[in-house]
Symmetry: C2
Subunit: 170 residues, 2 copies
């Protein structure tokens, strides 16, 4: 059975929706999707650092549509590992674990990896929105479209924009 | 530069000392080292489950002697990744991160991996006290002596009992 590494932020968790909501609450700023294209999250959101460090940021993140059904399908067909960059934000660790337990209860604690860098985690397929996590991966690379990666050329990965597309190709 | 995977519990953190102290506080039971040999921690300590789940268990664990100097040496000579089984115990995640930051400040968040299973983490050398983490590892295997592994034959790994020995052979 092939092993699939699945990212959380930007693939399972809709962190853009979370940043947009918090930015609006913070400053009244309503960020239109077009303004976010090609910028990192830190560039796109004026209060990025404050919000990503705030209690509950990861625990209350909305789901990417279709991710529950999509991950359930992958979990039935593949060895799934959830691999999330998390050690930069100490409070995110438990929040991410509880969030996974709530929304993806079919994922066990044995399938979770919280790390700083992903380049030492082995798998056959990776699904991630960040090129830094895809570029050194030896297997099949799937990039999940988010505003920060939308302008990048798709030369070394397969691009998907929805979980339905993931289910179709895997 | 070769990559070394370093376990926490039983290699950096003296969890046996912690269990022995808590067991004595809990029930007055003073466990002599000879009684622990060949038993799993869950078999050796009557209140294992309660104590491993208690707040502060990992945050207040004593250091394995020589581990600070030893890990500092490894960190200068190798790519070090700290790889710890942690996702079974949600509260252990932040405690382990803070404990590493306090006692091994030269280890960055980029070097930390908290997981359920270690068999997808790549490296050239592994230092661990649990055979389940050593058996499927492709590189050089070093077992750190703890009471639970003391009777196992050393056919597929190199056994060390102190951090001084690790520094001598690496």
């Amino acid at each position: 059975m092939k092993q699939v590494l699945v990212d959380m932020d930007g693939v399972l968790a809709d962190v853009y929706a979370q940043f947009i909501r918090l930015e609006k609450e913070e400053s009244g700023l309503v960020l239109m999707p077009g303004l976010l294209s090609g910028k990192t999250e830190a560039e796109a959101f004026p209060h990025y650092k404050k919000h990503v460090n705030s209690a509950g940021f990861f625990r209350t993140a909305p789901l990417i549509p279709g991710s529950v059904e999509g991950l359930k399908y992958l979990n039935d067909e593949y060895n799934v590992l959830i691999v999330s960059s998390a050690t930069e934000y100490p409070d995110s660790l438990k929040e991410k674990l509880e969030w996974l337990n709530e929304f993806y209860p079919f994922i066990s604690w044995q399938q979770m990896i919280f790390c700083g860098k992903k380049d030492s985690i082995q798998g056959d397929i990776i699904i991630d929105d960040h090129p830094k996590n895809l570029n050194n991966f030896k297997g099949q690379r799937i990039i999940f479209t988010q505003p920060h990666n939308i302008n990048l050329p798709d030369t070394t990965w397969h691009r998907v924009t929805t979980w339905q597309e993931i289910v179709e190709i895997l």
